[in-house]
Symmetry: C2
Subunit: 695 residues, 2 copies
């Protein structure tokens, strides 16, 4: 120890090795250049000090990225995330499917976890009951991790297999009748070429083009090939004695040779029809030679970890980057491709034609195109009609040169899934006036016939998929899908998806329940509990009244499944938006419900829908029941049609271009009709003559 | 030490730790399972031995990749290469430009280096004189490196600045008269778009297409855009308030939007015309608004390190991979691009149109397309006509979306450089019968006029560029380019490129020299030294007679520049091939030399050519001298024309398609004519009436 040469009051161990003097090493902080070491630029102390500082900064930086391991039971999935991450972020990193309807805002209360070990900080919430808090329940999005943590996913949060609507049994037969000839986007042309000689010494590419011309596959004048093909060509052509198979993609106004392979014995070509829903994804694997369906699979869209609806997804993409959301849905699709390939015992390289159908936001995210302007007035998508893309470029686990057709969509909130559904429904080819509705995470409506088509989106919100409803859930295992309430005892009779103990209530169940509560007089036409009705199943829950759908001892969890006034209100707002949408579209066309000859219902929501009960709550118009028709998953069915036939791909583009989009966001008439619809069944009860309400 | 449990005759230090017995460790080699350790699978000795073996193999592997540092003086360039590499490989790795005509076969003797320090193994060679050996001269290709080495590049091996032929002074004026309107391949379209509203809410891409349609730039029905453009589009369009510039590439039968940038004030667009010769590369930078030439640069093709001619380059690509050769020529071009950009004070992103002209092998290598079948009967190129490529994909240091047109070539040995030259020469548009010759590293000939075109390549070999000639060299600094020999004293009078001390002799110098030696009677018409001529300049060199062109004390090196009988023989074979080519082409067309109205000479070789002397040795036909015309570097001039005008690009393709290629490789008539031409000037001396030989 010695005194600093600059600051005699400081004792220090630092020695300037060059000048052989003590230096405190702190002098570099001094502002006055006269005070600190005169030798500084040549002095090792200076550098020692700098090194020390650097090391300190590094230690700080290291601490800042200190990571914690989070284990999710019961599946023992884990992720290592930075200290301070939320449990929801950790769940996304660990690829644990949590229900996170509100995308981490802390408003839906669905992402419940049970803390088993470790240290977290959690924001107080009223969405957990005292009983739950006593059992160490936390909300994943409201809890930050500090150190290693183990959590358990309780029954009510566990993501179960979705009951996803398929095409319907008669769909393929019906479609096969429509498809005249299978016409893939990627042609596969086997060629037996003549070997070159000194007298016939055209280039390899010219020889290939000559062969393609002779095959009659396409106009060779409009054919091109890229450097990738050219670089392989010489070897490929000689590999199997001038027998090759050329893969030619049919583009808008030209053709492109995407690949040439040696030999002529290619494995059977497969096709893939994909419906990308906000909630779920469905994949069909097809034999492209005869159009038969080899396998199907469906699953949760992994983006669900970023919120229930497209708006939350867009917000999430703005925050975390469009790549993250794109990768999530790609992982979902590629997982399902693995399933169908396993099911059909096929190789992914055999998939050489793909059709993607999805709403505008899903398609933007999948293709990693920033969707931010979809949610900002005037609501502009970046692309509504895509060229044929290549599988490898999109990131699909299919042959890299597979041709990918994306269903065109006319607007930001009426996308390719609706066009695809219409392609399947086919009313744009016919005379009768048809109302087409797809109620999923949003509500899209089309009105028209072969002469004209109008469309709108009516922000129904995700209530029918369980969003914003306390015990609402998707049609997963354990969801109450049908329910009746005895008018005498107020007791319930219900069935659940998978016939297991109930975990919540899905869209069709909620419609049943509201209809029954209205008809039995538990609630009135405004959706409020009738004050003088008293029953053990009706109780006060915090500031509002609730109906106990099932008591804790009979549920899958240790909690009552209840249905509150605000849950009812959410459903009323959703059904009101859809019905108002119908009314305004008809009105714009100068028509009314009596002129509608057919109502086509599509989407997962429709599959367990009780039409009568949907009319009772005023979701569907009170018209002849025989006019209603349920079409199943028409989005994937249309995708399948477009997969098989170029005519249908062209028809899809025509549909999209011929639809007139009505924007409701700034439409006063819509606001009026919406307000009138916030009643059960409607303010104007004369429009619902068949609904007899007990007063 | 103890006796092995299996082999009592072996003393060993190995102990089986488990079984506590000595084991020699060699027993694993024994074939008889009864003999070697019964415990082997559970015995650590077994594993010790295996580990030992593994470690030994690793040590061997390590030794195998032991690296050595090689320093090249005087520029102090260095490279680290594996032990056992040749000095030529090290020179390539260090990017040292060595003359390596024969591509490492050890037959040309040009890659001389002086060993200054370190350990090499070198194969004995007769191509070095005793004097050179005494001074530690070695051939780079015949010497392998073992340990760090320092070598010096002697004067005669140093690569000097090439004298590359340009377009000629009147070229641009002439061409500007031909170009009616400048028509780039990449359109740049400034657009002022209307911002979207709720009433006009088409997608961003549709809005862009609408703007492009209004601009009238192209048929929007045939326009497409890729995912890359789509992913940037939303941001780009909003960045400068809906003012954008779109870059649209004109393809064969369609258009592609390659990029959209915010704003309308783009920097001036530049174009690049590139001539890629086997020996040298020439680059012209052009202002695309008015066609004026902003800068030009030329340099050695770096592939020269892999041999002088295309055959050596193809062999090298087969051995080391096409990527290596492709990267070498790309590096050459990109270096020259830097030069011209510096000269014009411009940015590489401004270069948005490029035309490449080169022989078929050069183009294949540049685009990394395997050229191996070009040198194998029936001599097939992989591609003869290219689509418009993208600069970034090719690897050029230009705007990544720059449009790249590659001059089409009709055959493996008559490439785009010839088509480009013809585009400039223009005789395919005119009546007079014209003979077009480009003698570079090879000799290509075209005969014809506006009605028909015949072409051939006549494997002249690289002798005129110095290959296969002891002191032969390219037209670099120090090359004797003109020389006369006094008929009385046999003394010489010469000039060199750059007016420096001579380092060797280039093509025009060799033609002069042979012509003079013939006319002065030093050699006879068969190219042999006349036996009874005695002079201090004529001496025996190993097994043959040589003429001393210059004595060591007046050269740049410490060696005599000599010209031997075998050198003369090589030149005779080259000129014979070219003349035979003329004869056969005319013959095939039923014509003779008297009908030729014009002889167009192009390429670097022609620039110092003395027509009279070329006739004297029988390289050119003995016709009226006024019929000969020298066009300079017509390959780059044609590239410049194609750069400016779509008409010329189409014309180039027409030229290529209308040429009839005559293959000489299996042509008996050619062989006969060639044999007759191996005489000075020719066996049939009557064809050369103006040549008066002293006997």
């Amino acid at each position: 120890m010695g005194k600093c040469v600059n600051h005699p009051d400081r004792e220090t161990n630092f020695v300037c090795m060059k000048h052989d003097v003590y230096m405190c090493g702190e002098c570099v902080h001094c502002r006055d250049p006269e005070i600190y070491c005169k030798f500084r630029s040549s002095c090792p102390i200076w550098f020692m000090h700098k090194e020390e500082k650097r090391a300190e900064r590094e230690r700080e930086a290291e601490a800042a990225v200190r990571t914690c391991k989070v284990i999710f039971m019961p599946d023992n999935k884990s992720a290592t995330v930075p200290d301070g991450s939320s449990l929801l972020e950790a769940a996304q990193a660990a690829d644990v499917g949590l229900n996170a309807s509100c995308n981490g805002k802390g408003s839906c209360g669905k992402c419940k976890l049970i803390l088993e070990a470790g240290n977290i900080k959690t924001v107080p919430t009223s969405l957990l009951s005292e009983r739950e808090k006593g059992k160490n329940y936390v909300l994943a999005c409201q809890s930050t991790i500090h150190g290693d943590v183990t959590v358990k996913i309780p029954e009510e949060t566990l993501e179960k297999k979705l009951k996803v609507a398929g095409m319907g049994k008669d769909a393929t037969d019906r479609m096969k009748g429509l498809v005249k000839e299978i016409s893939p986007m990627l042609l596969e042309i086997p060629l037996e070429l003549m070997p070159p000689t000194l007298d016939d010494s055209v280039s390899d590419l010219d020889r290939l083009n000559r062969g393609l011309k002779r095959s009659g596959c396409c106009d060779v004048e409009m054919l091109s090939a890229g450097l990738g093909v050219m670089r392989e060509l010489a070897t490929v052509m000689r590999d199997d004695n001038w027998n090759v198979t050329a893969y030619v993609m049919i583009k808008k106004s030209s053709y492109e040779v995407l690949r040439v392979k040696p030999g002529n014995g290619e494995a059977k070509s497969l096709g893939l029809a994909v419906d990308i829903g906000t909630t779920s994804v469905v994949v069909y694997l097809t034999d492209m030679t005869d159009g038969s369906i080899l396998a199907a699979a469906s699953g949760h869209n992994r983006q669900a970890a970023c919120g229930d609806d497209v708006i939350n997804r867009i917000v999430c993409a703005e925050k975390d980057g469009v790549k993250k959301l794109g990768t999530m849905v790609l992982a979902t699709i590629n997982g399902l491709i693995n399933e169908v390939l396993d099911g059909a015992d096929a190789d992914y390289r055999q998939i050489r034609n793909v059709v993607l159908s999805g709403n505008t936001t899903m398609i933007h995210l999948l293709l990693k195109i920033d969707p931010r302007y979809i949610r900002r007035e005037p609501y502009i998508p970046t692309v509504s009609e895509f060229p044929i893309l290549k599988g490898g470029r999109v990131g699909l686990k299919v042959n890299p040169v597979a041709a990918v057709f994306v269903m065109p969509g006319p607007a930001s909130y009426v996308g390719g899934d609706i066009v695809s559904g219409m392609l399947y429904a086919g009313f744009h080819r016919e005379e009768p006036l048809t109302l087409f509705i797809d109620v999923g995470t949003n509500g899209e409506i089309v009105l028209g016939n072969k002469d004209w088509l109008m469309t709108a989106s009516c922000s129904a919100g995700p209530a029918f998929e369980g969003g914003g409803v306390r015990w609402g859930m998707r049609a997963e295992e354990g969801a109450i899908e049908k329910i009746s309430v005895s008018p005498d005892t107020f007791e319930t009779d219900y069935s659940t998806v998978g016939d297991v103990r109930p975990r919540g209530i899905c869209g069709s169940g909620m419609i049943d329940l509201i209809s029954e509560m209205l008809l039995t007089g538990i609630i009135d036409q405004s959706g409020k509990f009738v004050p003088d009705v008293s029953h053990p199943r009706i109780r006060s829950e915090k500031d509002e009244t609730a109906y106990i759908v099932e008591f804790a001892d009979k549920t899958a969890m240790d909690a009552d499944i209840i249905f509150t006034e605000s849950d009812i209100d959410n459903i009323i707002r959703s059904k009101g938006a859809v019905y108002a949408g119908f009314t305004v579209l008809l009105n714009q066309a100068g028509l009314d419900f009596s002129m509608v000859e057919r109502v086509v219902i599509t989407g997962g929501f429709g599959q367990y829908l009780d039409i009568d009960k949907a009319v009772t709550i005023g979701l569907l118009p009170d018209i002849e029941r025989g006019k209603f028709q349920y079409l199943g998953n028409s989005s994937v069915a249309g995708a399948y049609m477009a997969l098989l036939s170029d005519e249908f791909r062209k028809e899809a583009t025509q549909i999209s271009n011929s639809m007139t989009y009505i924007d409701f966001s700034s439409n006063n008439q819509f606001m009026d009709e919406f307000t009138s619809s916030l009643f059960l069944p409607h303010t104007n009860v004369d429009d619902f003559p068949s609904v007899k309400i007990r007063h």
